[in-house]
């Protein structure tokens, strides 16, 4: 089985097959043999045979973004996107276009809009405050991702917003 994935922004090609009771995993042409056991549906105990049977516990969790998986390891968390099949639309092209052009500022958490600091047509600097959202008793100022101009303000003061809701469009 072959997968095209993206680990922390780096594209990787992974082949995996069962071999001699182990797993043979080839990442970008480099082979390793792995003794893997599922602890539960989303947690694996991995023993990599290459380096003196180094043992690791790895946990997987969906991030809420389609095709994206957070991989929890003792050294931290890696973000993995599966690019093969239906998830391939999250390829690099889309991201590049977004960075160059219009950007939406999304609500990072559910909360209430307490103040809108800009109006359509305003010139804004990167990291300039655009809108203040209150959640968990704290006022959080959301900032512009880039130098540009406010194209649209999509919410009014006092509005309750869900996580992921577009609030301001900067072009």
């Amino acid at each position: 089985m072959q997968l095209q994935i993206d680990v922390n922004g780096r594209p990787r090609t992974v082949d995996i097959e069962r071999k001699d009771g182990l797993y043979r995993v080839v990442i970008d042409g480099v082979e390793r043999m792995v003794d893997a056991a599922a602890v539960d549906g989303s947690t694996f105990s991995l023993i990599c045979l290459a380096d003196g049977r180094s043992s690791q516990e790895v946990g997987l969790s969906p991030t809420g973004l389609p095709g994206e998986i957070a991989v929890h390891m003792p050294s931290g968390v890696a973000s993995v996107r599966v690019l093969t099949g239906a998830a391939s639309r999250f390829g690099r092209g889309a991201g590049a276009a977004q960075a160059a052009g219009t950007q939406q500022v999304l609500a990072p958490m559910p909360g209430k809009v307490v103040k809108v600091l800009v109006k359509p047509g305003d010139e804004v600097k990167a990291r300039q405050g655009l809108i203040v959202v209150e959640a968990m008793k704290m006022e959080n100022e959301l900032r512009s991702p880039k130098d540009g101009r406010v194209r649209e303000v999509l919410v009014a003061e006092g509005a309750s917003v869900e996580a992921g809701r577009p609030l301001v469009v900067v072009e």
């Binding site: 997968l3 992974v14 989303s42 946990g59 990072p108 958490m109 959640a135 968990m136 008793k137 996580a163």
Partner: protein
């Protein structure tokens, strides 16, 4: 003097409600929990002997409703109320309403809360007790005081200044202003936050001491005039004026300085006839001079580290004092810490996006265990939703060891074990902090986090080494492969080391 208590209403939620319920059980007291709509299945509800619904999720409609809490006390036949911290813990009106209803309030008197809750009155008491204070305004500046007048006062105190909510705490309603031009905006923000958080827009102005350490003295007072101060806590690691890491003892406080600071704290408490648990906060400047900052008239979030280095239980003592018992702690022992303790406040926040709250569904969770670990949490387990309505504190994690460096190493080990999935947490931030050479050397002040974060220049906390990226690739491939062929990992799947360890421990 000594009176019996039988049933305690815990007027709070989350980990502190659980902490208090545990203490009550240990002392053979029955417990009454209250809950808002989203807290129906919260751990404090499940652990309590009785539980009552008190309204909608917004704190103003539930945990801040004095009338509903008193109704529950009556209905349940509770004879005492523990407010925890946050919510109504420093609300003199609540303490008074409890007293008027014949309930024992497990905390200081309403008079003491009133007096020390007003930052300006508290400063005056400290000065009267002969304790130095930071230069600033003597009287509260209400909403009727014009901006121009505040600007004049700010000039007099001298920039940089801090604007603080008179009724405040925890960094809310607080702003640093370095130049006069920034004052109007900061004033508006501070007043609006003070009003929405504490219902009082009054503020005051104080000189900002540069690079101070935040050192605080826990104390207990009984109803017979005895006040016992404890070894200091160092709480200099703050973000947005919120403590995130605390330790005891401080790496820089000598026994001689400890005696002086403890003496100053006790003098203030004695002067105001303080009873029950409280904490006096000081700023310690680079020359070793200390200034009274404020008093917290309640139990503190960070109380466990004091308990760990003094072998005491502060909540037990709060209850015993409320029953009229005499403090019989050895004051010398309370100022002689054994070993070192450190606490990290694990928040449901995303350290890679300005620490924005990250509420939501916890998809998997394994908490650390083993020697020297103390974890107080509100019952976050897989399947639980962290609500958006309250402080995003997921758990307090404290470690104890014989030395500071080993307590830090033990904390790092515990954080490595802590596996929380589904929501973002501050665990990666703490992993980084605990490896910082200045932190390890104890070279910290209250601006440490701001400077260290600025120096990172946005480098993500969740960065992992390249070989770990390979491991991540293996794991994702495995999951995809085994889902296609579910029989593959099959019966060979043994327990993890972690599960075996936990089970062995449970059998001990």
């Amino acid at each position: 003097m000594h009176h019996t208590l039988t049933k305690v209403l815990v007027a709070n939620r989350g980990e502190i409600a659980v902490r208090i319920i545990r203490a009550c059980r240990e002392m053979n007291l029955r417990t009454v929990a209250v809950y808002s709509e989203c807290d129906r299945t919260a751990l404090h509800v499940r652990y309590a002997d009785e539980a009552y619904a008190i309204g909608a999720n917004a704190p103003r409609e539930s945990y801040l409703r004095i009338d509903k809490l008193l109704d529950v006390a009556r209905q349940s036949g509770a004879d005492a109320v523990h407010p925890g911290y946050g919510f109504l813990a420093e609300n003199a009106g609540f303490a008074r309403a409890c007293r008027d209803a014949g309930l024992t309030f497990i905390g200081p008197s309403p008079e003491a809360i009133d007096l020390m809750g007003s930052k300006t009155a508290a400063r005056a008491e400290a000065m009267a007790a002969g304790v130095p204070v930071v230069p600033g305004t003597k009287d509260p500046l209400g909403p009727d005081v014009a901006d121009a007048e505040v600007a004049r006062i700010a000039d007099e105190v001298g920039y940089p200044i801090l604007i603080k909510a008179v009724a405040g705490g925890g960094g809310k309603g607080m702003r640093t202003v370095t130049q006069a031009a920034d004052l109007p905006g900061a004033l508006r923000a501070a007043r609006s936050e003070a009003l929405s958080s504490f219902g009082d827009p009054a503020i005051y102005v104080e000189r900002r001491i540069m690079r101070p350490r935040h050192i605080e003295i826990q104390l207990l007072g009984d109803h017979h005039g005895t006040v016992v101060p404890f070894v200091e806590r160092e709480c200099s690691i703050q973000r947005r004026h919120q403590k995130v890491v605390e330790e005891s003892p401080s790496p820089v406080v000598t026994p001689e300085l400890r005696r002086r600071m403890a003496g100053a704290a006790a003098a203030v408490a004695r002067r105001v006839g303080y009873s029950n648990a409280g904490t006096i906060e000081f700023l310690l400047d680079e020359s070793g001079e200390f200034f009274f900052l404020e008093m917290n008239t309640r139990l503190q979030v960070e109380h466990p580290i004091t308990e760990l280095v003094t072998s005491t239980d502060l909540v037990h003592w709060q209850i015993r004092i409320a029953r009229g018992e005499r403090l019989d702690l050895d004051p010398g022992r309370m100022l002689s810490p054994v070993g070192h303790a450190i606490e990290c406040r694990i928040y449901a926040e995303d350290p890679d996006h300005d620490f924005l709250p990250s509420p939501g569904l916890v998809t998997a969770l394994r908490a650390p265990a083993g020697p020297g670990i103390r974890r107080d949490d509100g019952g976050a387990v897989a399947g639980v939703v962290v609500p958006v309505f309250y402080d995003p504190l997921l758990a307090k994690l404290a470690t104890w060891a014989e030395t500071r460096s080993m307590a830090i190493a033990r904390m790092a080990r515990a954080l490595d074990e802590y596996d929380v999935r589904g929501i973002k947490t501050t665990i990666p931030f703490f992993r980084w902090l605990l490896a910082d050479p200045d932190f390890l050397a104890g070279r910290i002040d209250t601006t440490f986090i701001d400077h260290a974060l600025a120096a990172r220049n946005g480098r993500p906390f969740l960065e992992v080494p390249e070989d770990a990226e390979d491991v991540a690739a293996v794991a994702v491939a495995l999951q995809a492969f085994t889902r296609k062929a579910p029989a593959a990992p099959g019966p060979a799947a043994p327990d993890s080391r972690w599960q075996r360890a936990a089970r062995t421990e449970a059998l001990r």
